[in-house]
């Protein structure tokens, strides 16, 4: 069961553009993680957000956790071809198991 809804499912943009992807749920999570996955590889952890309203920045990536800890967003500024990949959000409410969304597939063309 996918408790997390990600949007959009697919995104194709040109180098230099900005974008935002969203992760929404009706459930409250104790923490939420964002991962990036390339074809045939495992997900790579980008960030963990824990506190409602928290904002974290990782170079050109900005992550925000909603005040109610039910939703999150990832904003990429000036996207580059190296940002291409599948972006997954995952919520932790059991303490040991992550519930993943289906992901947003991002393609950045030069």
């Amino acid at each position: 069961t996918q408790l997390l809804e990600q949007s959009p499912q697919f995104l194709s943009i040109q180098e230099g553009e900005n974008l935002t992807v969203y992760c929404n749920s009706s459930s409250v999570f104790s923490s939420l993680q964002w991962y990036r996955q390339e074809p045939g590889e495992g997900p790579v952890l980008l960030v963990t957000v824990v506190t409602g309203g928290e904002v974290k920045k990782l170079k050109r990536l900005t992550f925000q956790f909603g005040d109610a800890r039910k939703d999150s967003s990832l904003h990429i500024t000036a996207a580059q071809p190296g940002d291409t990949g599948l972006y997954l959000c995952a919520g932790d409410h059991s303490g040991y198991a992550l519930n993943f969304g289906k992901g947003t597939s991002l393609l950045v063309t030069p």
Binding site: T1, Q2, L4, S30, S31, Q33, Y35, G40, E41, G42, P43, V44, L45, T48, V50, L88, A90, D92, S94, G95, Y96, A97, L98, N99, F100, G101, K102, G103
Partner: protein, 114 residues
Amino acid sequence: DAGVTQSPTHLIKTRGQQVTLRCSPISGHKSVSWYQQVLGQGPQFIFQYYEKEERGRGNFPDRFSARQFPNYSSELNVNALLLGDSALYLCASSGTSGRATEQYFGPGTRLTVT
């Protein structure tokens, strides 16, 4: 330090056969989790083992089983393979607390059932 390692990288099995997948966690990590990722979907939780004990199990049939060894490595076994078991099987290693917030994934084993 090495990250999470998994073997084999790829595997092709016939329907009805059995398969064993292996995982070695990051050095010092005591917890291993297994996830199944079907094409076009996010990973789905199968098991977590912490300190050699099963801590949690996802919504998977009894054909799926796992164990963790004293060195914290783990095996995932799947019996009576079905075509629908074709997927990328991911192993994740957790820090000393075993909490989901600290999970780091291996490259996965691509299982194809024909």
